[in-house]
Symmetry: C2
Subunit: 244 residues, 2 copies
């Protein structure tokens, strides 16, 4: 069965956390809104959002269609896919913890987004630049170290497996932490300059994920979109901070 | 087995979505941080957050301890509890949809919080009032109708059961939608004045949940904290809008 992933074309965004899991597993999938033809493209995604796929319409992309099953929200999709893709930790306790970690990633991503849109998603960044600078400063001073410190502790205190945040082997959470490091380094290169020194576990995890054959092939392919200033992780030099 | 719920004492906050499910089910639970004695109080919660409960430390409250299992994030806790409390819809497809709805509630709650803290949680509301007014205005104009409209459509298009957002009977999502209506009416009484006319399904759901014997008893008890200006839903008259 080919999975159908629905997400905005043109940005990595929240869909990228799902793409990385599908790519690492070598799972067959269609990135529906990026394709052309019948049942493809943004129109097909919009139709699903309006209830055209049945009563269980998602609120927003990303969502995944697997036959008759529709799953929305990146963390929900990943919890659904993980056991099917061999990317879940064993046992209920660790799966619940992995989902909790991913929901913490979700919260972090929302805060990263709001550094450039603190007032309204209806306004351009240029219309909320002053407030964005204030929010980005508070984010880099307080929230970034809080979240990264938490993930680093999860890595360091994991008795099951050195180098993984949960369990003894690779899970989807490893892939999401890689993506966070990638995106934050793109958005805030100065503030992230000491990332490897401050968060050695996360930096090593990032490097090991990046070197995996399936991930390396994906990153080198046209399927991996470049970061840009329409996505979650945006590089606005004026929002960057100093290395700490 | 008595469930242990860990959440900040003194506010309803994100913990309230879990409390409502436990109360509706009549499940035995301890609200740990609100109790005194050994293993109780905020100190016990802080200890768990610092990893004192084992390696699987949560990022933030709320979290639930059920024997050796620790579950963090309200939506994760509710997905875990629902089948145990008789508050889950039947079948995988509906459970995934219910979790998607609850994660939409999660996103909505974060946006509601940010109406009074658009710049930083490290600052007081008084230090970001101007930005809060701008964010609250955009929220009431765009985000509130988008979220409430979505939940209303989920209610109206549910082929399984009139009056429920998912499945043919009460689930934890019903309870969360009740809480959203309560909290928004407290925070934004003017902007919510036409709630029942615009969202008749949500208003009827709110009233039916409120009239349930277990919920009514809970709301009348000392266990139900009052809304206040330390929580997610805060009533600052200057942030309220006009009825639309």
């Amino acid at each position: 069965m080919t999975y159908e992933l629905y997400y905005w074309p043109g940005i990595q965004g929240r869909g990228e956390f799902v793409r990385l899991a599908l790519e690492q597993a070598g799972a067959p999938y269609v990135d529906v809104a990026r394709e052309r033809g019948p049942g493809r493209g943004v129109a097909a995604m919009t139709k699903m959002l309006k209830g055209g796929g049945g009563a269980l319409a998602p609120f927003a992309p990303p969502f995944l269609k697997d036959g008759e099953i529709v799953v929305s929200h990146a963390a929900n999709i990943l919890a659904y896919l993980a056991p099917r893709l061999g990317l879940a930790p064993p046992g209920e306790a660790l799966r619940l913890f992995a989902h909790g970690l991913q929901l913490t990633v979700t919260d972090f991503v929302a805060e990263i987004h709001d550094t450039h849109h603190p007032i309204s998603t209806e306004l351009y960044y240029e219309d909320q630049k002053k407030e964005a600078k204030a929010r980005a400063t508070a984010f880099l001073d307080h929230r970034l170290p809080k979240y990264l410190g938490y993930f680093e502790r999860a890595l360091q205190s994991n008795a099951d497996g050195a180098g993984h945040p949960v369990g003894a082997a690779l899970t989807y959470v490893d892939l999401s932490l890689f993506q966070l490091a990638e995106g934050l380094s793109y958005a805030f290169p100065n503030a992230m300059a000491k990332f490897a020194a401050k968060y050695p576990g996360l930096a090593a995890l990032h490097d090991s994920v990046k070197a995996r054959p399936k991930i390396a092939a994906y990153l080198a392919s046209a399927r991996r979109l470049a970061f840009n200033e329409d996505g979650i992780f945006r590089h606005y030099p004026e929002l960057d901070g100093k290395a700490k």
